[in-house]
C-alpha cells in the first residue's frame, strides 16, 4: 500500500488541479455552449433548440455595435501599440544613460487596474473640466475635445486609455527583442558603412518577427477581453456606443437576465480568441518539441 502510494504520489498531487481544470474550464465551456443552443432566458433551460440565440445575437443592433467596436478598437489598439512600442524601444536602445528610470516610467501603467486607468482618463477627458477646459482656458476659446460624450468618437477614448496602459509593455517586449539580435552582424554592417536606419529596417526588425507575433497575440487577447476599461471610462455609453462583446455579455448575464444571449455572445468571444490563440499555441508547442 505504501509502495503504491509512493509510486502514484505525483499523479495524486496533480489530480485535484486536473479535475478542477476539467470541470471549471472545459466542463463550464461545454455548459455555456449547451445553454447557448437553448431558449434560456432568466433561468437556464436544457432543451436544445438549435441556433436561435445566435440568430437573435446577429440580428441585434447592440451586438452589431459591439462587434464593430471590437474591430475598430482592436485594430487601432494593436497597430498603434506595436508602432509606439517599437519606436520607444528603438529610442531607448541608443545607450541612454537613464534607461532604467525611463523604462520604469513607461511600464508602470501596466501595474494599475483598468478601473484606475479608466477613472483617471475619464477625469482628464471630461469636456467640462478636463483637457478641453484647460486648452480653452489658455485662450483657445473654440477648442473642442468632447470625444468622451460623442457617440461617434467615444470608442477612440477607449483606444487612448488602453494605449496608455499597454504600450509600455509592448516596448519592453521589443526592447528585449532588440537586445537579442546578434551583435556581430550589426558590427559587420556598420563596418560596411550601412546607415543606421537601414540596419534597423533590413536586419534588426526582420529578425524580430517572432516578437511581433507574440506582441500581436498578447494585444489581441487583451483587446477581446477588454471589459473593465470600458466600464470605468464610458460605462458602454453614450447609449451603447462603446459596448464591446465583453460588456454586452455582462449586461445580458447580470442586468438583462437573458442567459441565452449571454451564453451565445460568450461563445462567439471564445471563438475569436481561439481563432487567434490556437494556431499560435500549436506552433509554440511544436517548436518546443523540435528543440
Amino acid at each position: 500500500m505504501t509502495k503504491w502510494l509512493e509510486d502514484h504520489l505525483p499523479k495524486l498531487m496533480l489530480a485535484p488541479s486536473f479535475v478542477a481544470v476539467l470541470v471549471f474550464v472545459y466542463g463550464f465551456i461545454a455548459w455555456t455552449a449547451w445553454v447557448s443552443l437553448t431558449r434560456s432566458r432568466l433561468l437556464p433551460k436544457y432543451e436544445i433548440e438549435g441556433l436561435i440565440q445566435y440568430e437573435r445575437l446577429f440580428a441585434s443592433p447592440r451586438w452589431d455595435t459591439a462587434l464593430n467596436n471590437l474591430f475598430i478598437f482592436g485594430a487601432l489598439f494593436i497597430v498603434i501599440a506595436m508602432a509606439l512600442g517599437l519606436l520607444m524601444a528603438i529610442l531607448l536602445d541608443q545607450n541612454i544613460r537613464t534607461e532604467g528610470a525611463i523604462r520604469t516610467i513607461y511600464l508602470y501603467p501596466m501595474a494599475l487596474s483598468m478601473i484606475v486607468t479608466g477613472t483617471a482618463w475619464k477625469w482628464i477627458l471630461n469636456p467640462g473640466l478636463g483637457l478641453e477646459a484647460m486648452v480653452k482656458g489658455w485662450g483657445f476659446e473654440r477648442f473642442s475635445f468632447d470625444w468622451l460624450v460623442d457617440p461617434d468618437m467615444a470608442i477612440y477614448t477607449v483606444v487612448i486609455a488602453a494605449l496608455w496602459q499597454s504600450s509600455g509593455f509592448v516596448m519592453a517586449l521589443f526592447l528585449a527583442g532588440l537586445r537579442s539580435v546578434d551583435g556581430e552582424i550589426i558590427k559587420a554592417a556598420q563596418v560596411d558603412g550601412i546607415p543606421t536606419w537601414r540596419i534597423y529596417t533590413a536586419i534588426i526588425i526582420p529578425s524580430m518577427a517572432p516578437i511581433f507575433l507574440s506582441a500581436f497575440i498578447v494585444l489581441a487577447h487583451l483587446a477581446i477581453k477588454s471589459f473593465d476599461l470600458v466600464i470605468a471610462l464610458t460605462g458602454g455609453g453614450p447609449g451603447f456606443a462603446t459596448d464591446l462583446p465583453a460588456t454586452y455579455m455582462y449586461a445580458m448575464a447580470f442586468s438583462r437576465g437573458d442567459i441565452g444571449q449571454a451564453a451565445s455572445s460568450a461563445m462567439v468571444m471564445m471563438a475569436v480568441v481561439f481563432a487567434i490563440v490556437v494556431p499560435y499555441l500549436y506552433s509554440e508547442l511544436r517548436a518546443q518539441k523540435d528543440d
Binding site: I29, A111, S113, T196, L285
Partner: protein
C-alpha cells in the same frame, strides 16, 4: 546589445550627431511626460478642493493643499447607498488576495514540480490542457460559475472569490513553476530517489530552496492579477464583499449628490497603491512575470 549609437555611421558631422542626440532625448522626454501626466493629474486633483477644481486648470498645482478628499475617499465616500469610503472594500481585497495568492502559488509549485520532474505518461497533455485554460475569455465561465457558487453555498462571499481566483490562477502558476523547474536536470531527482528521498522530501530539500526567484515572480503576478481584477469581483460579490476595484467604480459612477472629482482621484490612487508599490519595489520580477506569462504562454 545593439551598439548603434557608440559607433555612428561614417559621414556624419559632429553637429549633426549632437542634434540627433538632442532630438532623441526630447522624444524620450515627451513620452515620459505622457506616461506621467495622468498620475500627476490624479495626485494634484486629489489634493485640491472642489472649488479650486471648478475654477482652476487641469494640470495646475494645488494652490491650497488639502487632504480632505483623501479622508472622504478612505472612510466617507458613497458607493451607492452606503457611505463608508473604500476602506472596507480595501480590506476585502486584502482578504481575497492574500489567501488566493498563497494557495494558487503553492498549488502551482507542486504542479510545476510534478510536470517538470516526474514526467509520467499524460503529464504533458494535462499541462497543455491547463495552459489552454489561461487563454479562455472568462465570460465563457461566468454563468456556470455563478450557479456552482450558489450550489456550494459560497455565492457572494469572500471565500467564493478566493475559490474563483485560485481555480483560474492555477494555469499561470503551474506554467511559471513548470518552466522554471524544467531547467533543473531530472538526474538530480533521480539521484535523490536512489538515495531514498521521497516526493515531498525532494521537493522540500532540493527544489524549494532553489525557487525563491520564481516564487517572487509568481506571487507578484498573482497579486497584481487578483488585486486588479474587476470581472470576477463585480460578477460574484454582493454588497459588503466587493473588492476595492468594484467599490472604486461604484464611487466614480454613483449619481447621487455633487460629483467630487478630488474624492474619485484619491479613491483611485488608494486602489492603485498596493500594486504600484509592488511595482516600484520589485519591478524587475513584475516584468519577468509579464513576459513569461505572455510570451511563453
Amino acid at each position: 546589445m545593439t551598439d548603434l549609437a557608440t559607433s555612428p555611421a561614417r559621414g556624419q558631422s559632429q553637429s549633426v550627431r549632437i542634434l540627433l542626440r538632442w532630438s532623441l532625448y526630447i522624444a524620450l522626454g515627451f513620452f515620459v511626460m505622457i506616461y506621467l501626466l495622468p498620475l500627476f493629474v490624479m495626485i494634484t486633483t486629489s489634493l485640491k478642493s472642489l472649488e479650486e477644481i471648478r475654477t482652476g486648470d487641469l494640470v495646475a498645482l494645488p494652490r491650497e493643499v488639502t487632504i480632505d478628499a483623501w479622508l472622504t475617499a478612505w472612510s466617507g465616500a458613497c458607493t451607492g447607498i452606503k457611505c463608508e469610503g473604500v476602506r472596507p472594500y480595501f480590506w476585502n481585497s486584502v482578504l481575497i488576495a492574500v489567501p488566493a495568492v498563497a494557495i494558487s502559488t503553492l498549488v502551482g509549485a507542486i504542479n510545476g514540480y510534478v510536470v517538470a520532474q516526474w514526467r509520467f505518461r499524460g503529464a504533458n497533455v494535462i499541462f497543455a490542457l491547463m495552459l489552454f485554460g489561461c487563454f479562455i475569455p472568462f465570460q465563457v465561465v461566468l454563468l456556470p460559475m455563478a450557479r456552482v457558487l450558489g450550489i456550494i453555498g459560497i455565492a457572494g462571499t469572500i471565500q467564493g472569490l478566493i475559490f474563483v481566483h485560485v481555480v483560474y490562477g492555477i494555469g499561470f502558476t503551474t506554467l511559471f513553476f513548470r518552466n522554471y523547474y524544467v531547467t533543473i536536470p531530472v538526474e538530480l531527482t533521480k539521484a535523490a530517489k536512489v538515495d531514498g528521498a521521497g516526493f515531498f522530501r525532494i521537493f522540500w530539500s532540493i527544489f524549494l530552496p532553489l525557487s525563491l526567484p520564481i516564487i517572487v515572480v509568481t506571487v507578484i503576478w498573482q497579486f497584481t492579477q487578483i488585486w486588479n481584477d474587476f470581472l470576477f469581483g463585480v460578477s460574484f460579490s454582493q454588497a459588503g464583499t466587493q473588492p476595492v476595484t468594484v467599490a472604486l467604480n461604484n464611487i466614480v459612477n454613483s449619481t447621487t449628490g455633487v460629483k467630487e472629482y478630488n474624492v474619485d482621484m484619491a479613491a483611485a490612487i488608494i486602489a492603485a497603491l498596493p500594486t504600484l508599490l509592488v511595482y516600484v519595489v520589485a519591478g524587475k520580477y513584475f516584468i519577468r512575470g509579464l513576459t513569461a506569462g505572455s510570451v511563453k504562454g
